[in-house]
Amino acid sequence: MSSRDVVLGRIRSALSGPSSVDVPRDYRPASGAVGSLELLVERLVDYKAVVHRSSAVAETVAGIVSGTLVVPPGIDRSWLPTAPLVDGDLPADRIAAADGVVTAAAVAIAETGTIVLDGSPDQGRRIISLLPDLHICVLRPAQIVEGVPDAVARLVPGRPLTWISGPSATSDIELNRVEGVHGPRNLHVIILEEQWS
């Protein structure tokens, strides 16, 4: 008998009682509404992300960093002040040596101050937003949702997803949050402002 048969057989023998349980979902559900930009900004700042609101992204990026920026292949080039290092299958050491990475995002959650990347062409492979010490993420206001249920509803499960809430941090020393361990120690979020506003 294989271990698979052994374990499944044990599970079946162990079970008694009801064959399913109804789940009360009386919590706030996904609403489909656009989330509060002000709340998102407050929550991002609370977890030590730097937030910019800009209609001129390239200028804002130039104000944050000079030097080599690695970008995913589908990035909006108008966001970049200089010629970037475009990822395809760049080796890790070249990505790690970059001064920063610029990506878009799939969704942002106002209530938790979270941005989620899903590997789309404007967000790229997971490695590029991981190794550089600076991550600049450009967000459109329409990508903001209020809470976690809306984000889960919008995301596509099969994609590689990275949920990011502030820069890399740890609570391992005396249970106090300290920013800056292995992931990017600097997280900047640029929220696009429409030209006419």
Partner: protein, 470 residues
């Protein structure tokens, strides 16, 4: 019909059994003033943080009820869900392995690492791999396991044991951590201070090259979604992202109880877990992956599904709730016993209230007989549990199964007999008055009382005497 009692986690492997009873181990821990101060500081901090972010959610209790029901439903449908997970992961390019116990899981992982030829693996903090003693098995096979979570690194470098589910080095303060780094971390700056950001930066420098040069990673999983085959790891530092992204091969060891039915269920658990564990609205990083993504991340993915006593827990209709645990450690942080003894006293990788109900069930209660008693039944753990595990009720249930000392059995039977015979009971009440002359220090086991507490003076008359004389 025969009752299925299940197979306990085997002896001689892993970390589910302590060398001594809880009271004996606790006595030592209680004598360590530094430990008491560290634990009090850390648990007080986390209780405050967690309480504040939980209070922000108007629907916290509804989320708890949903989380509890999703877990109960998962257990009721475990065979179909685990098979669904298997088929989804396989369809997405992963390879699924089944391990009936710790020994099998260790062999599977060791063989997989051997096949890659890598002399080293990088590890994400994982309770399941600690439970089965995977690091020892890898070392025996000549493979070096490198813990990359900061607290695990502190424990590994300090040749120590973890003492908390979330923060394994909670028993160490910043100065002790600096001293461990200075002593054990190759290439560390000798001018290292005990400032937490400086300590975190030292870990970053130390592990960077290891992340970039190791081709195999081992992880646990917080959730495995049956519907989609998606696995999720919740973390803070980015060491998890490194392990899940950089190597060619990823091996994930997951307890069978970690499966969730649907993708949508994450909307509940991703609210419950961070607020209950680190007291954050959301932890810095959560990674989700489904099998293999061509060109992005590990191109070889193995999922090891672990039993190791879990089906034995499942067989107990009252005790099976312990499998609902999402390893947030909120129950540890609010437990007055844990706060004073720390995690080592529990002798298992699962300390605190959840450990006191999980470890004895995984091993069989005779192997952890003192743990169900390591609680004053104050109930703080139930209130803190994001999935409403009724830990006090399970403790009482396990006490009923635990082996009892003979002298206690005799005393309890005598007491019950007396209480069931009012005349005897009244006679015993009057005999109690004699203890007025017995002095303030009593013999064992009552000496445990009089070592630190006076006995009340027995009254001149009992209530019922007074009532009859009215």
């Amino acid at each position: 019909m025969t009752t299925f009692l299940g197979m306990p986690a085997p002896r001689g492997v892993g970390h589910l059994r302590g060398d001594e009873s809880f009271p004996a181990a606790a006595k030592k821990a209680l004598g360590n003033d530094q430990l008491r101060r560290n634990l009090n500081h850390a648990t007080t901090t986390i209780r405050g943080k967690s309480g504040r972010v939980i209070a922000e959610l108007p629907d916290w209790e509804q989320l708890r009820l949903a989380g509890s029901a999703i877990k109960a439903d998962t257990m009721a449908r475990l065979p179909e869900l685990i098979e669904e997970l298997e088929s989804r992961v396989t369809a997405a390019g992963g390879v699924v392995h089944w391990a009936a116990d710790a020994n099998e899981a260790n062999t599977i992982v060791t063989d997989l690492v051997r096949a890659t030829g890598s002399p080293r693996v990088i590890k994400i903090k994982s309770m399941a791999t600690q439970e089965i003693g995977l690091n020892e098995a890898l070392e025996e096979a000549g493979i070096q396991p490198v813990e990359t979570d900061l607290a695990e690194l502190i424990v590994q470098l300090g040749k120590d044991q973890p003492s908390h589910i979330l923060v394994p080095a909670i028993h160490r303060n910043r100065t002790e951590i600096r001293d461990i780094f200075l002593r054990e971390m190759p290439g560390v700056d000798p001018a290292l201070t005990d400032d937490p950001p400086v300590l975190a930066a030292a870990a970053r420098r130390y592990l960077r090259e290891t992340f970039l040069s190791t081709s195999v990673a081992v992880s646990g999983a917080n959730f495995g979604i049956a519907e989609t085959g998606t696995l999720a790891v919740v973390e803070s530092e980015g060491n998890g992202r490194m392990c899940l992204t950089l190597p060619d091969t990823l091996i994930t060891v997951m307890g069978i109880e970690k499966v969730l039915p649907t993708w949508r269920d994450l909307e509940v658990f991703l609210q419950l877990l961070p607020r209950s564990s680190t007291g954050e609205r959301m932890n810095p990083y959560t990674s989700m992956w489904t099998g293999v993504v061509p060109g992005d991340g590990p191109q070889n993915f193995h999922l090891v599904l672990l039993d190791n006593g879990r089906t034995k827990v499942l067989a107990d209709e009252v005790g099976r709730q312990a499998l609902h645990c999402i390893r947030c450690s909120a129950c540890l942080n609010v437990c007055p016993v844990y706060e004073r003894t720390g995690g080592h006293a529990y002798g298992s990788v699962y300390p605190g209230p959840i450990g006191a109900i999980l470890s004895p069930q995984l091993t069989g209660v005779e192997d952890n007989a003192s743990l169900p008693y390591a609680s004053s039944l104050c109930g703080a753990c139930f209130d803190a549990c994001p999935v409403r595990i009724d830990i006090p009720a399970i403790l009482v249930h396990l006490r009923n199964q635990a082996p009892h000392p003979r002298s206690e059995r005799v005393a309890m039977a005598a007491a019950a007999y007396t209480m069931d015979h009012p005349r005897l009971y009244e006679a015993a009440q009057h005999a109690a008055k004699l203890s007025r002359y017995a002095g303030k220090r009593l013999p064992p086991p009552l000496s445990g009382w009089t070592a630190s507490r006076d006995l009340p003076e027995p009254p001149a008359e009992t209530f019922r005497d007074w009532w009859e004389d009215r």
